[in-house]
Symmetry: C2
């Protein structure tokens, strides 16, 4: 095996209670790399067409990359994949913390979980050994209790746990998997898949430190990062909510959604911004494995809502989704909502979106207090937001409807509610505005997992000279492009950036570490010893995306599903984008050109047989 891999994939059949190991060879590793590449490969290869996402035939894949667990910032992560209960297609989600590194140290490159346990179980993996253990006593417990009980009963306080809270158990379609208590594999509903398998948690502990081909080179890259604090100072200071000039700036540009993407103005932004968090409820910053940036907020609130610091603090997406997008300016309530989501294993983006959706339905009379059990579900009501989180988790009352996700809830409500459903392929829209960032909208529609902002582009970063543009110069992007333009040059830039992100999802490397793509290639070379480069990495990204596309096509998704909600084709009600709207024709042209660049049919988005041969996809 090359450095960077254990060469072993753990396969756990919960129906049979059987554990086995698949060996993978170097060519396989180099062709698919890890993380998202492994997820795409196994989902496409092993899942039967049309299986129920929440049935025993779905598989839940935890995949590491060559970078996982090596002494380098951003290397503590893992990727999670499955058929998504939210989109019915490809789900993959990345998550930080320490669990990924621990699994690598325990001797595995990935875990494939199949079948369904008869009763609740958890997996215990340590130093090359794995066992299935009873979890009946853990069922119903939140993530903190679960972690504590497992550590206690296994007698090791350094055990890392990835698991679900009640939302995953109750099959909330946007339930996430929590690594520890602060880090979520948030998107696509993999937590529900875990719940459907009666798998409460995976506890790991390992002592094997991965060898790398060129440790000196990794050391230099680490030193480089330390020497360039200016590239990440805002993350260290404010977390993800400090990016792009902070949330106050995000209102000025129109990026942040307000009241279910209806409004642009949000004068209360200063009350919920990263600055506000720092100045009021934040007690410290914490890090993931091996990372000096320490971008993770920890908050503490005593009243009116006691917030347990163990659950960390709200990131940008959460501040916006439970905050401005619900019209809420009560920071403590948002922090409480964040804590609940982490304790219950709910994706904060989908949660915020589905609540904002329900609020708009309520404001427009599509839902009433009769539906809500008396809750005055209005924009701005922090109390309502917190109550709904509880109901969703328990699938009770209105929560049972909303636990299905925005798209399904809108269908059931009818009466035009679909116009309020801010989702693509059933996947709720994250906290960034396509009316401002044209190619981001393209990313929302063409990303195989749905409206994802991480594997996409933030056009405003490339609209003037600066750090972001400098980082894509090695890709031949030499001149700024307006944020709202969506011609072939922008589509090409989007595709590069998307593939760069996908590569990080394969390695698996944190998106916020400001290495440029050449440095990322250096990392891969230094870890594995391969003579590699950016072109090979982009090719792996192309393969990964194409396999994911094939998976979606097999599950019945088509180019017609690559569409934005109509709301984006209208201006906002107020604020800076109140005269601006997304041009649907421009989007169709851009989609078509993106398909073409990918070697997919320009109209249908179906990968051509030639492209599949070229990429070695059978």
């Amino acid at each position: 095996m090359p450095y960077g891999y254990d060469g072993q994939i753990l396969r756990v059949d919960l129906s049979r209670g059987a554990i086995s190991v698949d060996a993978v060879d170097e060519l396989f590793c180099r062709k698919y790399l890890g993380g998202a590449g492994f997820v795409s490969y196994f989902l496409l290869k092993e899942l039967r067409q049309g299986i129920a996402p929440l049935g025993p035939e779905n598989k839940l894949i935890f995949a590491l990359g060559p970078v996982t667990g090596v002494p380098l910032p951003g290397s503590g992560r893992n990727c999670v994949g499955a058929k998504s209960p939210l989109t019915g297609g490809y789900a993959k989600s990345e998550v930080g913390g320490f669990w990924g590194a621990e699994l690598k140290h325990a001797g595995y490159d990935a875990i494939i979980v199949e079948g369904k346990a008869e009763k609740p179980v958890y997996l215990w993996i340590h130093d090359g050994e794995a066992s299935i253990r009873d979890a009946s006593h853990l069922w119903g417990k939140n993530t903190k209790e679960t972690e504590q009980i497992i550590r206690d009963e296994l007698g090791d306080s350094l055990i890392r746990v990835a698991g679900i809270g009640p939302a995953g158990e109750n099959l909330v379609r946007f339930a996430c998997i929590m690594n520890g208590l602060k880090d979520a594999a948030g998107r696509g509903g993999t937590g529900a898949v875990m719940g459907s398998k009666n798998l409460k948690a995976i506890a790991v502990r390992g002592h094997k430190r991965p060898e790398v081909a060129e440790p000196e080179c990794l050391k230099e890259l680490r030193q480089w990062l330390l020497a360039h604090r200016e590239l990440w100072a805002s993350y260290a200071e404010l977390g993800t909510a400090g990016g792009g000039g902070g949330m106050e700036a995000s209102v000025k540009t129109g990026n942040i959604p307000v009241r279910n993407f209806l409004d642009g103005e949000f004068p209360e932004i200063g009350e919920i911004s990263a600055n506000a968090v720092r100045d009021t409820i934040r007690i410290k910053m914490e890090s993931c494995y091996a990372c000096p940036i320490r971008c993770k907020k920890v908050v503490k609130v005593d009243e009116p809502y006691p917030v347990d610091p163990a659950y960390g603090g709200p990131e940008y997406e959460t501040l916006a989704s439970l905050g401005s997008n619900c019209g809420i300016s009560d920071l403590k309530a948002i922090a409480k909502g964040n804590e609940l989501c982490n304790a219950y294993s709910l994706d904060t983006i989908s949660t915020g979106d589905v609540i904002a959706f329900a609020m708009e339905c309520f404001e427009n009379g599509l839902l009433t207090t009769e539906d809500t059990g008396g809750i005055e579900l209005r924009f701005g009501s922090a109390e309502a937001m917190l109550k709904i989180i509880d109901l969703i988790t328990k699938c009770e009352g209105i929560g049972d409807l909303l636990a299905e996700g925005t798209a399904r809830a809108a269908q059931k409500i009818g009466k035009g509610a679909t116009e309020f459903a801010m989702q693509v392929k059933g996947y709720e829209i994250p906290m960034h505005e396509p009316r401002l960032k044209a190619a981001l909208g393209l990313g929302y529609v063409v990303n195989p997992h749905g409206a994802d902002h991480m594997d996409s582009i933030h056009d405003t970063m490339y609209s003037e000279p600066g750090q972001a543009l400098d980082r894509v110069k090695p890709l031949g992007i030499l001149e700024p492009l307006p944020a709202d333009e969506l011609g072939p040059r922008k589509v090409s830039l989007f595709r590069y950036v998307q593939q760069e992100r996908i590569i990080r999802d394969c390695l698996v490397l944190c998106d916020f570490i400001p290495y440029d793509i050449e440095q990322v290639a250096d990392i891969l070379a230094a870890v594995t010893g391969w003579k590699t480069g950016t072109v090979e990495m982009l090719r792996v990204a192309e393969r990964t995306l194409t396999m994911a596309r094939l998976f979606n096509i097999r599950e019945g998704l088509t180019a017609a599903d690559d569409k934005l909600p109509n709301r984006f084709f209208q201006p906002k009600r107020n604020g800076v984008l109140s005269t601006k709207f997304y041009d649907p024709e421009q989007l169709e042209k851009a989609k078509s050109y993106y398909y073409t660049l990918m070697g997919w049919d320009a109209k249908t988005g179906v990968p051509t047989p030639e492209k599949l041969q070229e990429l070695g996809i059978e």
Copy 2:
């Protein structure tokens, strides 16, 4: 200006006798790089559609790259471009020696020669100054005499001269431009363009040594090369004819053409191979600027044909074109033919091919001694070959017909002679066999300048693990591909290799220096100080090829011109490939997929408007 460029392009209007300088900025340099990139840009931008290649409206471009003249092996070169009198389309040709480096040291990145002088002139360029000088006394002189007279009259024996002999003056359509006496910008007939402008030579001398951004890095790359002698030992020992196991091996594989590509067997190969050259007529090896490899043979023959060592010795292409392809096994005659071609400024590949073509016509009665002025123009006749070289140069008798090149001569001869014309777009086929190397055949048809072997692929190098395959691993090509396969994976590999070669033509860097593409990117970064990489370079190659394609389309060339001679669709008469033929349908499919990968229409090969926008081509 970035390091690596002078920022000045010399523009010489011979009709008006005017000299001016165009300034180029950093963005321009980065977008087009130099060499072939500059040639494509200026030909497309400045040439009017339909102009006569040998008329005053054609322009002759001598372009350097950022690498030219820096202290690095392979950096003495330049690219020459024009509208080709041979193909009627895009001509570009690279040439080694010292002239390119000298021009950079004299302060220019390129020369654009326009118009036509009233009487013969030459250019004298030294240390940022340029003048047009009378060359009446040089007209009719061979290249050695020309160089000597210029050096004498300008009083500097270190002056470097690029110029033409009588073949260029007489507008032989495949006349070349000689850098000194040994190095030819061989292909496409740029020597005839030079002659049509009454421009005998360009003499240069410069004392400015280019600064580079990271001299230490260049030093390391040079050291790396010196430390890896095994990668280039065969070139140092045997020149280009030592590649691929030598010419003896080339008969065994079927790569080398015999008797106008008819035959496979050539038992006399040992008499004309690189080993034979070394063991008989070779007196030493010489180098180009700054190169330790010293791959250039120097030969001396006293009788029966005195060969002047000043003209160097025959490379692989010449040994095969004047040798086996004419059925000739007389090494001294081949060396003499090589000397004549260099003295007269004739491309040895086209010259050998057109003679082989005429021999086949003669053998088949399409030409008779009446046409040849009594010459028994049979395969194997060294005497005939040498006589024809003289006649072509002088455009006398049969030579006047053959000076038009194979395609035009075949048209004039009629009677089915076109079936004997081994050419693509009027450009004679080099000494490598598509029936052995499938994607090489694709390269012959899609290369914008015609059947070029340098900007193509030699499939046999990638059919088993080894150095060549290792060098493309950073491109994600991990597994060998059979030499005769031409599916999408091979087409994609071809495209990468083609673009890697085009990048070298832009830089301008010798193809025989065994840097891999990541090292080439390191060189560009070290010279210029840019944060660049392979992706940016491939993008420049894509732009360069697409501009060349547009130029050809404007001149009336279409996908129908992207075709191989019918001979390749038949087996050889004997030898290892006597049962093997090229599949025309497979070629059409491969062409179509190549067009698709290039972002050109899959059927017509016309670049799409979106691709042009993406690449920033107006």
